[in-house]
Amino acid sequence: MSKIGLIINREYTSRVKKKSFIVLTILVPILIGAVGFAAIWIGMKEQKHFKVLVSDPDDICGGKIFVGQDEHPPATFYFTPDDLGPDLFDTEEYKDYDVYVGVGKNTITNKTIKAIHRDEPNLNTQKYISNKLEMRLEEYFAIDQGVSLTTYRKIKQSFKFVLQDIEDIDGENDSDRKAKAQAVGFAFSILIFVFLMVYAGQVMRGVLEEKTSRVVEIVVSSVKPFELMMGKIIAIGLVGLTQFLIWIVLIIVILLGVQAFFLADMDPAAIQAMTETQMGTELTGNAVGNDNEIAALIFEQIQWPVLLTLFVIYFLGGYLLYGSIFAIVGSASDSETDTQQLIIPVMIPLMFVYFISFSILGNPDGPAAVWGSQIPFSSPIIMLQRVAAGTVNGVEVAISVVLLIGTFIFTTYLAAKVYRVGILMYGKKASWKEIFKWLKH
């Protein structure tokens, strides 16, 4: 094995064997699995059947509501001609009913249905109750106004405003879909940012640890300082990729497991209801059909192989760039406290990029996004948002990747120069001014 191979091997195995690595690598997917598990479990637990008492003194519903052929409806409707009001509903006589709905002529005028509950129905049940009541009241209202129900429903439909890019007139890239797709890219942005911070930070601490434990001079009497630095940077990058890979595999396995465990015994209607509920909470959409849109987005419109490949490329590029700069900081410091001061000029731009990644949400074609996706110090964090939104072409990505590679080669070259001087400077913290002097050596 070559010397750099030996270094990579030592740095890699010493890290992946650490308890903290094993715990974090296994714990994160388990936590994500647990959240999924909890969401489904809570969803199932709330599948209580609701008794809805409709107080209808004006006989608007005529004692019936069309519920269709649902075998497991989340609620059943009961009617009373008495005008109950909340106070009477709260008496012993009506304690078997979970929800009280008051319907009258003024309900039609105000277009507001008021419902009072004991246990709060979940979103799915709420949607069921409101849908059924609304449909029944619409029937009454249409007849009252002298139009047919079909005509009424046609009139009721709202107009949809579709914004289209002249460059993309066939409408595949409408802004709404772009924004949603960009959100998926945003998740990757944040993941890359976190990975960069964690693993570039590990490079810095690793360099510092070798320096403070005084083992570094023994090592560099056998290998070139550059080999030691690159071995460390490469090994830690591989640790990051390993962790990412394990997470992806474990998350898929756990989610499939959760799905198989819970959903095997359930009937399709319940699954659909549950999916609607969950999607409903995630998005602001109000009509049935949102779930299909999201599913289409996630399963069809996002090009996962492209996105994941670019994730790996941009993570490695960004990591090598920031890792080499963090190596400079580690080699120029003499203690953990020193690094905190030296790291500030590096952290400020990185935090700035982090905030930009929020500001360009919904605007993946704006100047901030376009420039941010090309400048090598921000492209690893910004570009994936644009890729997910589908607003970049291959050339732009290629330019950005080439710029990133060129820049990390340059920063690695600088880091190597600072590193070989810095690691043997014991007992003093260098200022950035001194670091620039070392570059001239």
Binding site: L6, S213, V215, E217, S221, S222, Y426, H441
Partner: protein, 318 residues
């Protein structure tokens, strides 16, 4: 036979010169003492020999040919600032460094077992370095330095931090390696060990080489021609006989009629002249020359050199 030759090495750091045209030469199989006060440039020179840093000018030759990168496998280096990976197990650590020096896995394992058995420390194999005492860790560092059987061993302050027992152990090992033909360069402030084990020395002060040569020659170069004369008789008479040709440096009464005097020969006088002068007044029992210790030489050479450089600097001001 020449082992290492350092030719006109110059090394400058921002603002100061660490090595100013330094040339030294060591022989195969000898222990060479590299001496000098703190900050003189010893570590800079050692790092250049180890190719950790490069010189601004000058050349290094190993066994007569210019040193190349791959030669570091023939050198064992124990730095003054030394440590180990704290969380790594002793066995893994020694194996790692042995393999970085180019040993195969099998060879490294064989030698590791040899040294650990020799030092009777096989029970430490699975211990982490952070569980070891400082002395224990230093033994491991010594093993790491010699495991690949280097031709040239460079030890920077090898005895610092060791207790007297371990110092003796390491000293014994250094001598044993010398017997086997290993050339050793020793940088130390411990002048007693220099006297005990070094064959030749070089003294660097303020980035310049000021003394170099075999231990005996250097000592002879720095002899002050002072003799200890033990005699029976009166000290008063002895002192009076000396006149202006000799100087009485020190005297001590041993018993009622026996005394020891340290006399320095002045001008061109020889020991015979001294004896002729004092024999008529006292009865001489023994005479021997007082040779300077390495400690004396170190202090004298550095003080004289610093004095001169202060004078020179003063002269420049004028």
């Amino acid at each position: 036979m020449e082992m290492l030759r350092v030719d006109n090495i110059v090394k400058q750091y921002a603002g100061h010169t660490a090595l100013d045209n330094v040339s030294i030469q060591t022989k195969k199989g000898e222990i060479f003492g590299l001496l000098g006060p703190n900050g003189a440039g010893k570590t800079s020179l050692i790092r250049i020999i180890n190719q950790i840093t490069g010189p601004d000018s000058g050349q290094i030759f190993l066994e007569g040919r210019e040193i190349k990168r791959s030669d570091i496998e023939f050198i064992g280096y124990l730095p003054e600032e030394r440590g180990l990976y704290k969380k790594m197990k002793v066995r893994d650590q020694v194996m790692y460094f042995a393999r970085l020096k180019g040993l195969t896995k099998t060879e490294a394992k064989k030698r590791l077992e040899y040294w650990f058995e020799k030092f009777e420390i096989t029970s430490w194999f699975d211990k982490k370095v952070e569980e070891l005492s400082k002395g224990m860790a230093q033994k491991i560092q010594f093993i790491i330095t010699v495991l690949h059987d280097p031709k040239l061993l460079i030890l920077d302050e090898p005895f610092s931090g060791f207790d007297p027992i371990n110092t003796e152990l390491i000293k014994r090992e250094i001598l044993a390696l010398k017997e086997k033909g290993t050339s050793i360069m020793l940088s130390t402030h411990n002048m007693n060990s220099v006297e005990e084990i070094c064959d030749s020395i070089a003294l660097i002060n303020k980035s310049k080489l000021i003394v170099e040569g075999g231990l005996k020659e250097v000592k002879s170069q720095y002899r002050s021609h002072t003799y200890a004369v033990q005699f029976k008789g009166m000290m008063f008479g002895f002192a009076n006989a000396l006149f202006a040709d000799f100087s009485l440096e020190h005297s001590e009464q041993i018993d009622d009629d026996t005394a020891v005097a340290h006399v320095k020969l002045l001008k061109e006088n020889k020991l015979n002249d001294l004896l002729k002068t004092v024999m008529p007044v006292v009865e001489i029992e023994s005479v021997h020359e007082i040779m300077p210790t390495m400690n004396d030489i170190f202090i004298q050479a550095v003080t004289e050199d610093s004095g001169e450089s202060i004078k020179q600097e003063g002269g420049e001001d004028e």
